[in-house]
């Protein structure tokens, strides 16, 4: 899902102005470790996923394993989109 990866990267870079973002952000960098995301950031991210990809993120899915890097997000989305398609 190269487009999705680009979309997610763009969202993270535009929406989280702080922390080590930009070209230096690798797909495996942890948003938490890089200081990109705080408690509100998680919700902003989920809102973006739900609105852009028309999925529903369940409460139990709100965990760093699913959401804490570009690669994790891509994999999480793949799973969600497969289930809903």
């Amino acid at each position: 899902m190269p487009n999705v990866e680009q979309e997610l990267r763009r969202f993270v870079i535009d929406n989280f102005p702080f922390g080590q973002v930009g070209d230096g952000l690798s797909n495996d960098d942890s948003f938490l470790d890089q200081g990109i995301i705080d408690s509100t950031g998680v919700l902003e991210l989920v809102t973006f996923l739900e609105e852009t990809y028309e999925i529903k993120v369940e409460d139990e899915e709100l965990i760093p394993d699913n959401l804490d890097s570009i690669n994790r997000l891509v994999k999480f989305l793949q799973r969600k989109l497969q289930v809903s398609s």
């Binding site: 535009d14 102005p17 702080f18 922390g19 938490l32 200081g35 509100t40 709100l62 965990i63 760093p64």
Partner: protein, 660 residues
């Protein structure tokens, strides 16, 4: 309560009185009732007076009989009546009823040790012409401000930095290291200020200037000693602690009512200000006037509790409403008075509140600040306790539930999973030995904002390490203190003077010529509170436990038992969403950001876009926005165009009188 200013020419040249006039003009809002100055060879002292005690004969600068000792003083000495009686027994003769004269005589009696006898809030300068020695001092906790600089072989000092900047040869430049500190700790670490070369005399310090030599020395230290729960069992019971605390608070309040003008009180609806108001009611049969702020946004409004306190205590109450638009409108004036970047808008409503007090003809209010620091009220203390528990018991299934109990008023946090809460607040067992354990999450979160700095500011900051500086400054014995005491110390030594008592306190009250007095900051209360076992300050997770015990029956049960709500105000949305604010558009424009060179234009643009679209909801975005905007205002009003902005601020404050 007043403003002071002065000059010492270190090369011995006489001081030109016109310079003193320029300096004191800039702080006439602190003392609109009268002003005066005095020069003696290489020294000049100036004073703007807000008359509160001995209205007829308390003018300053004040001198002894042969004019060999002169003083300018901002503040109040609350035990002046007892000190005066004692000095009279020792043969001193007084010409006034004023507390200023008490400091003067006490200095004659015991020299620079005089400060040890004072119970109060002060910043003063004493010129001892026989010894050719200037003595400056600031109260224990930093209620009253005092800044200084050295320029062209002169030591220049004043209650506010704008007085110092009134002299044309003083440079005005923002210090990037101060920005680094503010965008980490929320305050600059004294003696550093926002501006390069301008120093603050730290709280609890005195300074002498003699023969060109400047010496700064501490006269008081907040010390938690062996006050931990592990300390040898104190013979006192909980009842005895509670009784003693109440006794001290009663007396601290009693002597803070000493005034020749009427005294009012702030009433926030919280435990601290309600208890202070209740204690005042014990001493005065006269009608008591109370003042409060109401917010149109229910998230911040505490009107319900204020009204319950008013009914219970029977005060004459005045309330001023505060809207988002009000905060946006007054914010430039707030920063003009605060003289530093701030990460919160919370000073703005207090600025509006002091305007209400002044409008009703009051000059003095009692208020509840200091209680949270000294008696264990802040959420950060509770957060640290829970994090410590979680670190010690990594398998406890209570962890997510405990973490959620932390910030019940923050909806965003309530919807987080345990895994994320653990990531935000969790701590490993080995981290509990960290001397800054309590403050790590706050400082780490705030530090992340620093990516908004421009490349040039970042390179000027270089490898500077604020934590290392703070570590160096920790008092002896700190590492042995209980975790709660360590956290209390960090709050009381830095955030209290650097933000609560200044940006939210003195500067906002004095903007409208109002003096605030703080019973919880009576040093007897503070020193006693430092000896209260931590388990009585926060019992399990019940904050200010002992104080609540004291307040039983004195305040409405609803106020005593309500969940703690920290004083907050709406943040970034004050500047967007309503009518466009010209100064916001201008100061945050990409051109202006690039030109001023403090922040990165691309990052600021992203941030502003988020606010304009209504997408910014988090604490980080809000702190960043307010931090960037206030820094730009500091730059605009102090660095770029000092005189013009002064004229603007003066018109607004309506203090056009010139001092001669």
């Amino acid at each position: 309560m007043c403003g002071i200013a002065g000059i010492v020419n270190l090369n011995g040249q006489p001081v030109a009185p016109a310079l003193l006039d320029r300096m004191i003009e800039r702080v006439r809002h602190r003392g609109p009732d009268d002003c005066g100055s005095h020069t003696d060879r290489q020294v000049g002292l100036a004073h703007a007076r807000l008359s509160i005690i001995d209205l007829a004969s308390g003018g300053q600068p004040m001198h002894n009989e042969d004019k060999s000792v002169s003083i300018v003083f901002n503040g109040e000495i609350f035990n002046y009546i007892e000190l005066r009686a004692d000095l009279m027994r020792r043969g001193h003769r007084f010409r006034t009823q004023c507390d200023t004269e008490v400091i003067l005589r006490l200095y004659e009696e015991s020299g620079e040790e005089c400060v040890r006898h004072l119970n109060g809030q002060w910043a003063f300068a004493i010129w001892d012409s026989r010894r050719e020695r200037l003595f400056l001092s600031r109260d224990r906790l930093g209620v009253r401000p005092l800044f200084y600089t050295i320029a062209d072989q002169s030591l220049i000092f004043g209650s506010e930095m704008k007085s110092i900047f009134a002299l044309p040869h003083v440079s005005r430049e923002i210090d990037p290291v101060a920005l680094d500190q503010i965008f980490t700790f929320w305050v600059a670490i004294p003696p550093r200020t926002t501006f390069k070369g301008i120093r603050e005399l730290p709280p609890g310090h005195s300074m002498t200037v003699q023969q060109g030599r400047i010496t700064v020395a501490r006269h008081w230290q907040l010390d938690y000693g062996a006050g931990g729960d592990d300390a040898p069992e104190d013979a006192r019971t909980e009842e005895e602690y509670s009784a003693k605390l109440l006794e001290l608070l009663v007396d601290a309040t009693r002597i803070r009512l000493r005034s020749d003008v009427p005294v009012g009180a702030y009433l926030s609806g919280g435990l601290d200000s309600t208890l202070v108001t209740a204690l005042i009611r014990r001493f005065t049969g006269a009608p008591l006037k109370t003042f409060s702020i109401g917010f149109d946004d229910p998230e911040f409004d505490e009107t319900r509790y204020q009204n319950e306190a008013v009914r219970f205590l029977g005060t004459h109450h005045q309330e001023v409403g505060c809207t988002l638009a009000d905060i946006g409108r007054v914010f430039p004036g707030v920063v003009w008075h605060a003289e530093r970047p701030i990460l919160r808008t919370a000073p703005a409503p207090l600025y509006i509140l002091s305007g209400l007090v002044r409008k009703h003809g009051y000059k003095v209010v009692l208020t509840g600040e200091g209680s949270d620091e000294m008696l264990g009220g802040y959420d950060i203390f509770k957060e640290a306790k829970i994090r410590r528990f979680c670190a010690a018991r990594p398998d406890s299934r209570l962890r997510p539930r405990l973490l959620k109990r932390l910030y019940p008023y923050l909806g965003n946090l309530q919807s987080q999973s345990g895994a994320y809460l653990q990531a935000f607040f969790g701590a490993r067992r080995d981290q509990t030995e960290d001397e800054f354990f309590s403050h790590r999450p706050r400082w780490q979160l705030t530090s992340q904002l620093k990516t908004v700095f421009s490349g040039s500011v970042r390179s000027e900051i270089g490898a500077y390490d604020g934590l290392a500086e703070l570590r160096e400054a920790l008092p002896a014995g700190y590492s042995g203190w209980d975790g709660l005491c360590q956290a209390q110390y960090l709050e009381a030594a830095y955030l209290l003077p650097g933000y609560i008592l200044s940006s939210q306190g003195d500067r906002m009250a004095m903007a409208h010529s109002v003096e605030a007095r703080f019973p919880f900051l009576d040093h007897r209360v503070v020193e006693f509170a430092a000896r209260i076992p931590p388990r009585l300050k926060m019992k399990v997770l019940n904050e200010k436990y002992l104080l609540k015990r004291c307040a039983d029956g004195l305040v409405p049960p609803s106020v005593r038992n309500r969940p703690k709500q920290p004083y907050r105000a709406p943040e970034g949305k004050c500047f967007f969403g309503g009518a466009r604010l010209e100064y916001v558009d201008e100061l945050l424009s990409p051109e202006r950001i690039a030109h001023d060179g403090i922040f990165d234009p691309v990052t600021v643009q992203k941030l502003v876009a988020k606010f304009r679209d209504g997408r910014a909801i988090g604490i980080k975005d809000n702190m960043a926005l307010v931090g960037v905007l206030s820094t730009q205002l500091v730059h605009d009003q102090f660095v770029k165009g000092f005189r013009e902005e002064f004229a603007y601020a003066e018109r607004r404050a309506g203090t056009a009188a010139i001092c001669h």
